[in-house]
Amino acid sequence: MAKVQTDALIQKKKTPGFIVRRVLLYVVLIVIGLTMLVPFLWMISTSLKEQYDAVKIPPVWIPPVPRWQNYVDIFTEQPMFQFMLNTIKIVFFVVLGQLFFSSLAAYSFARIRFKGRTVMFFFYIATLMVPGQVTMIPTYLMFAKVGLVDNHIALILPAFFSAFGVFLLRQFFMSLPKELEEAAEIDGCNPFTTYWRIMLPLIVPAMLTLGVFTLMNTWNDYMGPLIYLTTPEKYTMTLGIAYFKGVYTTQWNLVMAGSVLSVIPILVAYLCAQKYFVEGIAFSGVKG
């Protein structure tokens, strides 16, 4: 297959039109890319400004003297390092838990024709349509009843179960060819081993996508930690960053320094996931 593709590429390269199109493509890509970057660049530049330059109109794009101290300040003004560790701990468990529990249920919904699955799945989808603002308090009350507020468990446990994750992975399991399972069954696999050894590896791109999204949502969650946590030692990074937002004035430079720091892990995760997207093509190409 790889050979066919290269042949096709060589064939294309011979035409002069191909080169023009390639150049045009890059121009389009660069323009799209740049328009996407502007607020992000502003975020980075603001994280290096003095407080008074942070929100000027028109904006100061390049701080006259970069203030690297901002990145030191966010760690010394408050125990941000501790907050970071707390966030990492929560994110770690949530991502693993959500991927495992979601993929298991998603596989079942997509590939096993058990009784009542349509009704059950219908309920999963329906829960997505109720705004989170009204379920926040009931969930809090449940944890308060069992005395688990001010505890990371209250932030980790409910996040394992995501209708979004189940729905996303189900769609991907559904698009896999049926022959795979039949072959697996002949080889003596039970449904769990089929799921774990054969099917799961095939939806790696989807798992990674869900992983990145979960990482992002958990890392940036503000309301959860805010209402559940009351001991400063247990606070997360989002709460730490929020301290720079005062009642009346906000230290935008420090807020943005904190935001840049919280973007890095998500960015790294996304870049790593990218690599697997390309490998994913080759993999499914061979299998299918």
Partner: protein, 298 residues
Amino acid sequence: MEQAKTSSRLQRRWNFWGYLFILPNFLGFLLFMLVPIIMALVFSFTNYDVISQMDFVGINNYVGLFTDDQFITSLLNTLWFAVLTVPTGVILALLLAVLFNRQIRGISIFRTFVFIPVITSMVAVSLVWSMLYEDNAGLLNTLLGYVGLGPVHWLTDTNIAMISIAIMSVWKGLGYNMTIFLAGLQGVPGELYEAATIDGATARQKFMKITVPMIAPTTYFVTLMALIGSLQVFDQVWIMTQGGPVDATKTVAMYLYQYGFQFYKMGYACAAAYVLFILVFIVSLIQNISSKKWGDLA
């Protein structure tokens, strides 16, 4: 068809494994999603304020909602936002995903660029876009000025403000949907395209005949999630316009947040949430029916 032929033994086996796989997730789902949602439904018939005892008030909250101009306005604003963002957002994301789903040098950098707005903090995004949208010195109006147009009152005209918010939202969400589409495209076997190429199919034909049907489950997912997300839009309006000017960008999510947490009328807010729920439900049913044309997806 197949199901009819299935022996009852096989069905039992399916049931066993199916329930076994679902069970852990379903227990959590029951406890952390279904129970709170049912509690919220109960609250919607009470005068619950979160901090004191509640009394049942029948359907008073629902009656109150439909006699409140502000609620009707937010409902219409929310629908308008969905109309503005869902089709554009999904189609643009799909086109970008197809554009980016090729192995050319530096492609992963470009993909990451498109994903960057998704991870940029909403506050930063709102501040920068507010500057772009400024009436006088804003970049957009300056550019329009060069070609003899404008100025457009992006955020200060009650008729335009929601469109401006929608443009920003599509821009911010593009990378999110694109990523899901990209993941979906990885499941399309390369041989299909090769065979089509040999048969002399054009790029457009390949897109319509291979890509679109093959990733239909993904498209269904992205569209439904975009729809649900747009009908619950909160962050951008909360930070950028606070629902203004006047009430031109006030959404249902903002309305119910205000009632639940600022005005201490959680029961009423829950009723608003359930009206929204019914609305989302109906719209997604329509979407479900229309997508059945592409095959059994849901």
